[in-house]
């Protein structure tokens, strides 16, 4: 490292700035290929029905139609996909399981022709009873969504944790975890049992789900708006029964994902239609179809907490039911996390958690920013305040009393907490003015701490850094630039190690044929997992360069430092590298190339098979005013804070926290996919309200903490999810403070708050 760190810790302009502010940035939605066709799909109008017949004869005959895909074209494929459980068909086979389930697909000269062709597909359905929510799905006599078990796996777990496929009717997966002696319940002076409801949001990424596929001979090439090109490639290869090296995935800029853009979405249909038509096919969903493709998990959370008279936490037992929708998608993983994170940031003697994924006839639910932690924190942090009030304590004091210390393991076998939790809480409480708050009727303040393991489970990342003879650097990694700023911050890491100005480092585009392997852009893992791979790759290149220069200069590599693409020995004048390199390798130049790899080691003691990479903590504080006549909650102040360990780029970190906090604000106050039975009522942009600038609280403050305990490069931790997780609970806690009334269901709509106030 050079003496003056130049590249990290700045507010450097992002690498993607010029492309994005000029409209020059290319997204998958902008990709156009010569001869490209357009795909549209026929969706089920029924929530649950058996497919009697699907006849596309008339559609195939329409002028301008080049290919029609129905269940009859699936021969020779493994036609279902999913994460742990392969239950979602490319197009419906025996049944449809929600309104919007895909029945058939058409590729035509243009979208209008494709839409006309869909009207010519004759489908006979035999409607079956639906199961619109978890209660209906768990009823004794509920109809089964899957009569036969789809293929599924349970991953290896360590001490105290277990996973179970189909433990009961309409439950595709259940995760359980327990630690510590269960007999401590007898030592508790109080036991509190509360139930919470969590509503589901849509991701509402502005770039729709979209894939352009071009199948030529045996080569399958796609451009896709995806967060995890490598696992996607693997899953596509399995579905299509081809080698992974026959599939090339390009990932242009991605216009937002928030968890939605993992694994198979638009890809299988685009590929199959292109293969049938012999032409490139673009398959782009509308926003309305996005609502029918994936959502967050609605949940019912039962929490039982035992405490001593002085407020010491003793035991917490919880049962979570996630509404997984019609197909499993990422639900088993979300269940794992929702249960595992239920203890929150506190010290317990006994913990027992379970989380079941319940199948319903609604939009499939999957990964969403926060990934189960938003659900568990909503329940856990609401209940902490309820308990404090029941004990006559200040919720702040109760938290401080029970928070884990820096370095204390989360549970046995886990890594230590890498933030000073009390310091973070004090930061937010101070910024909010929590301790100085005046008692004004209908006004109140609340705090909450969002808690999740970050960096993914068992997640390997590889990176390559290469440098030309003239000192131009490339960072090659599979981390997708989805808005989070990774294409800048990863380059900052390489620039720092190589002692070159940031402008000299480029982030290479992703192409799975040449980009080093990565498991996905998720779990806030960009800096703590991929960042370490990039750091090592850059260090490997630096070592090569220094050894090369040392040989040329006849000294030890350790005697040299690297700065501005020159080597310096002690106080001597620096020797520029380009001349030195070309002297040996010729005037056409050369590239140094280094590889880096990182993965947290496995450990059988760790409940999830590998200790957590870092702990992503989000602290939030809110001040609200509640109108007793209408139930309307006005957020006067929102303070959100994450601990990034060390900010590689301050602008990027701030952006992550603020964006996350405002998503939490929408979740808290109004954002919700509303169903009437199995029918989605507000599945389009106008009726589904996302936060707008006018919804910002009068005072909105984000604080980027740099506590310095992170495992990533230069002490960094991850960011991106933490600041969303505690917001809903902080606001509900503030409403409680303001009114003395607890609302246990989200969102905190005027109607719900009004009803709670008047039930008093």
């Amino acid at each position: 490292m050079t003496n003056q760190p130049a590249a990290v810790g700045t507010s450097a302009r992002r690498h993607d700035a010029a492309a994005k502010v000029t409209g020059g940035a290319l997204y998958t939605a902008d990709v156009r290929l010569p001869g490209m066709l357009h795909a549209k799909v026929l969706r089920s109008p029924h929530a649950h029905a058996r497919l009697r017949s699907v006849d596309a004869t008339r559609a195939r005959a329409l002028a301008g139609v080049h290919a029609v895909l129905t269940r009859d074209e699936l021969a020779g494929l493994s036609p279902t996909y999913g994460y742990f459980i392969k239950d979602q068909p490319v197009v419906a086979m025996d049944k449809v399981r929600y309104v919007g389930d895909v029945v058939a697909a058409v590729a035509a000269e243009d979208e209008a022709t494709a839409l006309r062709a869909l009207e010519l597909i004759d489908v006979v359905y035999e409607p079956l009873p639906d199961v619109p929510d978890v209660t209906a799905a768990l009823a004794e006599d509920a109809p089964e969504l899957f009569e036969e078990a789809p293929p599924g796996i349970v991953p290896p777990y360590g001490t105290g944790a277990s996973g179970h496929l189909r433990p009961r009717r309409n439950v595709c997966y259940e995760f359980r975890y327990a630690t510590g002696p269960a007999d401590v319940w007898q030592e508790c002076d109080h036991v509190f049992e509360d139930t919470f409801a969590f509503s589901r949001m849509n991701h509402f990424h502005l770039e729709p789900f979209v894939t352009v596929a071009d199948v030529r001979g045996e080569q399958i090439e796609i451009w896709s708006s995806t967060q995890n090109p490598f696992p996607l490639r693997k899953e596509l290869a399995r579905v299509l029964r081809v080698g992974e090296n026959r599939i090339r995935v390009h990932v242009p800029y991605v216009g937002g994902g928030f968890g939605a853009k993992h694994n198979c979405k638009t890809e299988p249909i685009a590929i199959l239609l292109s293969r049938m038509a012999g032409r490139p096919v673009r398959y782009c969903l509308t926003t309305e179809e996005g609502f029918l493709t994936l959502s967050q998990h609605a949940a019912v959370l039962k929490v039982k907490t035992g405490v001593k008279a002085d407020g010491t936490f003793v035991a917490r037992e919880s049962e979570v039911l996630l509404d997984a929708g019609a197909y499993s998608d990422g639900s088993p993983l979300v269940a794992e996390k929702a249960a595992y994170r239920m203890p929150g940031p506190y010290r317990w003697t006994h913990v027992k958690s379970s989380c079941a994924c319940v199948m319903t006839t609604t939009t499939p639910a999957g990964p969403f920013r926060g990934f189960g932690a938003t659900q568990s924190t909503w329940a856990g942090e609401s209940q902490v305040d309820m308990i404090a009030r029941r004990l006559g304590m200040d919720p702040y004091e109760l938290r401080i009393k029970n928070l884990k210390r820096l370095g204390e393991p989360f549970v046995p076998g886990e890594s230590g907490i890498d933030s000073d939790l009390a310091e973070g809480l004090d930061t937010v409480a101070g910024e909010l003015g929590y301790h100085r708050r005046a008692r004004t009727p209908n006004r109140g303040m609340g705090l909450a701490i969002g808690f999740k393991d970050g960096g993914g489970v068992n997640k390997p990342a590889q990176a390559r850094v290469k440098v030309t003879a003239n000192g131009a650097v490339y960072v090659n990694s599979g981390t997708v630039e989805i808005g989070q700023g990774a294409s800048t911050t990863l380059c900052q890491v390489a620039a720092e190690v190589l002692g070159v100005p940031l402008e000299q480092v480029a982030y290479a585009p992703i192409n799975t044929d040449v980009t080093p392997f990565d498991q996905g852009t998720n779990a806030s893992s960009g800096m703590t997992v991929m960042g370490r791979a990039v750091l090592r790759a850059a260090e490997a290149v630096r070592a090569q360069v220094l050894e090369f220069a040392a040989r040329q200069l006849g000294c030890e590599a350790t005697a040299l430092t690297l700065e501005n693409w020159a080597v310096r020995r002690g106080d001597e004048a620096p020797t520029p590298l380009p001349g030195l390199i070309m002297k040996v390798f010729g005037g056409t130049g050369y590239e140094f190339s280094g590889e880096g790899f990182f993965k947290a080691p496995n450990s059988p003691e760790a409940p999830l098979d590998a200790p957590c990479v870092f702990w992503e903590i989000g602290w939030a504080g809110a001040e609200v005013e509640v109108d007793p006549d209408t139930g309307k909650v006005t957020v006067l102040q929102l303070v959100a804070s994450g601990d990034v360990g060390k900010a590689i780029n301050k602008l990027v970190c701030r952006g992550q926290d603020e964006g996350a906090a405002v998503m939490g604000l929408g979740q808290a106050l109004f954002e919700e996919m509303r169903y009437d039975g199995s029918a989605l009522l507000n599945g389009e942009a106008l009726d589904y309200r996302v936060p707008m600038a006018e919804d910002l609280p009068e005072r909105f403050v984000s604080v980027t903490q740099e506590q310095g305990h992170g495992p990533g490069p230069f002490g960094a931790k991850g960011a991106g999810e933490g600041a969303m997780v505690p917001v809903a609970a902080a606001i509900a806690n503030a409403v409680h403070d303001a009114t003395g009334v607890r609302v246990t269901a989200l969102p905190l709509s005027p109607e719900r708050v009004f009803n709670a106030l008047h039930r008093r």
Binding site: S11, R13, R14, D16, A17, A18, A19, K20, V21, T22, G23, G24, A25, L26, Y27, A29, D30, R32, F204, H205, L206, E207, P208, Y253, V254, G255, G256, F258, T286, T287, I482, G483, Q484, G485, L651, V652, R654, G655, E658, G659, A660, A661, V662, M663, E684, A685, L686, V690, P691, M692, A693, E694, L696, F700, S702
Partner: protein, 161 residues
């Protein structure tokens, strides 16, 4: 659909005469025929504002405008916002203040800001919030966009002789 209409309009200062189907939407005309993919398509329901352009200086969602209706009008898109050799003042402000993340809302936000600053060269935060409330940004939480607009006002004033 066989009938065609001819329109004559300006796109980013360049005059265009063309034949179009009467049901052509301006967004599609710009993206598909003029390859102006900087004009983003998202909800295509006139809600999100990703497709914002200016028609005779007024912001409009191009997904909700029939192409025939801009006959005789001057259309401005993100493509015309640069300056000789680089970024325009609004673009520079967004780049400098980090008023974007995924960037999908950014061209629309830049156009909205351009119109705002022409109408109100020194907007206060309340006016900024109220103007940008016509477009959705799912990534930033808006505060850094507000900062960008404030900075854009400064840079635009500096640009005036």
């Amino acid at each position: 659909m066989s009938s065609r209409v001819s329109i004559d309009f300006e796109v980013d200062g360049v005059r265009r005469s063309e034949e179009i189907a009467p049901n052509t939407v301006l967004l599609d005309l710009l993206r598909d025929r003029h390859a102006l993919t900087g004009v983003k398509a998202s909800c295509e329901r006139g809600v999100c504002g990703a497709c914002t352009i200016l028609v005779d200086g007024t912001p409009a969602a191009s997904c909700g405008v029939f192409a025939f209706s801009v006959d005789g009008a001057a259309v401005e898109t993100i493509d015309g916002q640069g300056r000789e050799g680089g970024l325009g003042p609004v673009q520079r402000a967004f780049a400098e203040c980090g008023g974007f993340q995924c960037g999908y809302c950014t061209p629309g936000m830049v156009m909205l800001t351009t119109a705002l600053l022409r109408a109100h060269p020194e907007p206060d935060d309340e006016r900024i919030r109220s103007w940008i409330s016509s477009n959705v940004c799912r990534c930033t939480g808006y505060q850094m966009i507000v900062d960008s607009v404030r900075r854009a006002a400064e840079l635009s004033r500096e640009e005036q002789p």
